[in-house]
């Protein structure tokens, strides 16, 4: 395998993706990610000098809304699926500012 994924990298990706892996999962993830990256490295064979990266396939542009209020009070619906709520708000573990 050309791409060796370190423990630090898996740890770091876990922080970014908010995933907590068991040791066993971590080993598997290192292997999987390494081999996927080896595979993706194949793209390096292609000369893409001067090629514009294409994020949208079609030249659709300028899709807008007018600045008009269209939504009413959907509070009940919005909160309907909340795992925890209080006083019309979503309840979350305490966030410390800082």
């Amino acid at each position: 395998m050309a791409n060796i994924i370190s423990d630090e990298t898996i740890e770091y990706v876990g922080i970014l993706a908010k995933l907590e892996l068991s040791d066993k999962e971590k080993e598997q993830a290192k292997k999987d990610m390494g081999s996927m990256l080896d595979y993706i490295d194949k793209l390096g064979e292609l000369d893409t000098e001067g090629v514009e990266p294409m994020s949208h396939v079609f030249p659709v542009e300028n899709v807008f809304r007018e600045d008009v209020v269209t939504n009413g009070d959907e509070r009940e619906a919005v909160l309907g699926n909340a795992p925890a709520k209080k006083d019309g708000m979503f309840a979350v573990p305490r966030t410390f500012e800082g």
Partner: protein
Amino acid sequence: MEILNYTAVELAGKIKAKEVTVREAVEAVFARIEEQEKEYHCYVTLDKENALKQAEAVQAKVDAGELTGPLAGVPVAIKDNMCTEGMLTTCSSKILGNFIPTFSAEAVRNLEKAGVVILGKTNMDEFAMGSTTETSAYGVTKNPWNTEHVPGGSSGGSAAAVAGNECFFALGSDTGGSIRQPAGFCGVVGMKPTYGTVSRYGLIAYGSSLDQIGPLCKDVTDCAAILEAISTHDTKDSTSVKRQDTDFMSALIDDVKGMRIGIPRNYLGEGLDPEVRDAVLGAAEVLKEKGAVVEEFDFSLVEYAIPAYYTIAAAEASSNLERFDGIKYGYRTEEFEGLHQMYKKTRSEGFGPEVKRRIMLGSFVLSSGYYDAYYLKALKVKALIKKAFDEAFAKYDVILGPVAPTTAPKLGESLSDPIRMYLGDIYTISVNLAGLPGICLPCGKDSKGLPIGLQLIGDCFQEKKLIQTAYTYEQARGRFGSAKQTAESGVR
């Protein structure tokens, strides 16, 4: 003829002619579901009571002459990644195990306007990540042609439900082949429209720049009718395209004289099962006999489509799936200390291994220092692939090839080797990268009796050419039949 053997359009015709009631159709489907669902497991959620209620309402409108379209009264299934108001929508994931949307996907609403009756939600690979419907948190779906085999994926539940007559048609979504490949494995017709043709509003995103909703159904006529019903310009989806040419049923023409069909030589090489190859080339021969101009051509870059696709899809997925965090809806872990542990435990417990694998890959390719090398590079390769298609479509009206290298693999065979599983998507993936339409329809069976899928690819907005070509082939081929043959069905 038994009700279940009608196509969707045939059924709607019988309902309009008062030969069949909507309720009879719904009850017939549920009778079949009760008989075999334990074995096939096509659905995550079924709602008979609601379906019967819808049936009454639809019947009243049909009787009043308010609903006259080609799908009025037809019982259908919806892939579980499309929001249905008031009906559980799980994406086959534990993390959405209790999620009840407050609105319906635009495609679903369009079908409702056409007068369909929704039976329930079909099983899929979790968040559409997979090619076998084995990554579902709610159990695997089996291929009705042979229950030791997978139905394909990720719209495996939808394809199996159509093949097993557990609905008259279904909606699926296709990010890298997720409609076409299961259609091929289950011997039904599946179509991925041009990107932007069907609104993505209400489709729970996997790879937003690649996802499209499309039909899985019994024949090309149904396919055209369904596509016509769900293709609308939606102001809620910024990527929705305004099209004037969505009268797809007008393309049901039995004629391919002068149609230029190209077969990529690269699609026929190494890795392709010889039985699949023979069936696909046999289909090409049929079209040639009907007057099409068929030739092989070199279409390179095929091998680069998969790594480009997995980079882009994983990157977008890693971001799209960030919203599943245990705060607004869905699963939240029971015990945790503090916010970040709540996030991590919720997501680690809520997502399955394949989803985690792709989220991690996606987070990595976007992370500082790797963005240019991986993500940007993949977007450039995407541009090259689009260009290669543009060149091909300057010469051909339709590109013809297999939908997958093999017929449906056995259950449990694919997941052990992810890259091999990803390689199975080689013929379908580049179509998504370039935003093109593709249709898959059955063109034979292998020696094990499993269906073989033929794929036709068109230039963007050229669905009509695909429908015309597929329809012509279908007319010549004759009725393919369903997985569970009954006395009255058979070759048309």
